[in-house]
Amino acid sequence: MNAYFFARKIGQIVSLILLMVVVLYAIFRLMPGNPAELFLISSRTRASTVELKALEAQLGLAGGKWNFHGFLIYFEDMLTFNFGYDYYYQATVWQLLSLALPYTLLLLGTAAVLSYVGGIPLGIVATWFRGKRTEGGIVTSALVLNAVPYFILAIVLYLYFVSYLKIAPVRAEFPWTDITSPSLANFATVVTDMALPLVTLVVIGAAAHLLTMRASMVSVLGEDFITTARAKGVPERSIMFRHAARNAMIPVSTRMALEFALLASGAIITEIIFSWPGIGHLIFQAILDLDYPLAEGALFLISLIVILAYGMLDFIHAWLDPRIQL
């Protein structure tokens, strides 16, 4: 580990975060109209003039749309994670996010784990049987599953299990305490509520991981250290699962960082179709409702998580492959 590299990486991450704040500020100011006034006339809210003034002050709009003082207020709020009060839902942004986040983490976390557990070993098996019928079968079915339009898959699942068979709930309504106080009955509700969105996400995710893993396994198998391992008589199973798989995880770990973006933002379409009360649903509704405090706060938080996840990648790569020098 090199101190110069470390400092450079930290500098990069910090400058990215600062830049991100500026970009998000510009995006939200580019939206037409005065957000506070638009918010006032939006149908679902009955905000008073006092609230409007408070909102303008909170959003830094008091001195017009593009004033420097407002930008400074915004900048400070974002960097201190002070996302303010949301007049739309009459709660602080943090309260809203902390209500939705566990749902998203539960669904997408489970989906990510299941799709890795399904996809990665199958990718290794597919490379093991290279040139045989098994490989053709696995790879072809992964390609087919990967091409299934997720959004239509979700709708077909919904129509069949919810509308037709009526065995799945119309809307996931389990209270969050169901998970924090574990019991068999609670577990059953969580599983039935989560089953359909989970299937949608896992089918698509596992196929993609399988293809990535297979491609990177094949290129790792051509490397010298594999030949060395073979020469010294390491059994094939050990070569595949220990030596090659660890190295082949590098491109897959890049995908995992991308997955962090999903973990934070939720799978918007899946959450909306299955009425899953997660972050993706919340942000989408916030953008539609011009709910600025919520949209700004949530987008900043997501991009922050993604930037940090990408920043970690270099260190993870170095851990996976000792040849990579930091």
Partner: protein, 372 residues
Amino acid sequence: MQVPPPSPVAAVRAGRRPNPQIAQFKRTLFFLRRNTLAVIGLGILLFFVAVALGSFFYPAPAFVMPQECGTLGNIANASSCICTYQIGTTPPGAGCYPVQSVSPSLIAPTESLHPVSLGPLPMGSLSTDTGTPYFYNLFAGMVKGSPWSLGIASSVVISMSLIGMMLGSVAGYKGGILDELIMRATDIFLAIPGLLLLIVILATVGSLFSSLEGRLAILIGAFILTGWPIYTRIVRSQVLVTREQKYVEAAKASGARSGRILRKHIIPNSVYPVLVQMSLDIGTIPLSLAALVFLGFQIFPSIQFPEWGNITAESVNQTFLKGILTYCATDSSCVFPWWQIFLPGLTLFLFAISVSFLADGLRDALDPRLRR
């Protein structure tokens, strides 16, 4: 029966020196042809292209204004009516439309799209909700939509890859401050997940235009803005490898300027991973468009804009979002309008699978280690 790959050796012996790029292309084609899946993918893709070309001679989809057949309790012509109502409400609900005059397997009674939730959002002006229900021939719509879909998807993918090649090669070759700037810009765009970024862009500038051309331009621009960073990163990492090659050194030694080295040596030799990424992306564009329209970001109604994704979303919205279940006057005539989901779904699926088979074959053909 194993046919050996075409070798340049014979040609060189005969005194002809083949262009190395053409030789490489021929070799790629050879390995592509051996891959059954890739050939199937190419076949489906060519079929779509043929449909797109033929669609100009195909009659436009019929829009039939339905006559109401009365409310559910009081249906005028019982056997030929399909009634729709919202889940959770008791019939009679919305209108009933006659289905027998036209083949039910092709024609979906599609009401003009009702936006999900618009409020005072700028996107509100994007909906052209006339409130009139009409019959829409799905099959004719899909045929008519093929040039739109193929055109939009390929123009997006080609522009993304051109931008990526330009910025990525400059960043990778020049390095320094330029590299740093371009890469940080890609980081910013990559930090917001794709669909969310599309939504934010459309919500920000989506209401600038009201014409079909203007909205189409914004849509394509939004897709390009979301996709270019990946191409830039791919090209950059490829260029970092190629610029260390001997032939680049040779070109430099013979006094070539950096523009010429980039154009003649570096870009042509890093183009193949871009090709693979392009064929992976092109299949997802109609699907993303469908997702956008489904979420309420309607570009134009499918009468004027019969793009696959657009039709899919309108058709699916009708069966799903409005919570429609078919309710028929007599139980025997009760058919769930499965074709409304099946036909567009199948089209999107076939398109995506053709390009992903092709991409997989291309990757195998280009990378000698992956060849089976």
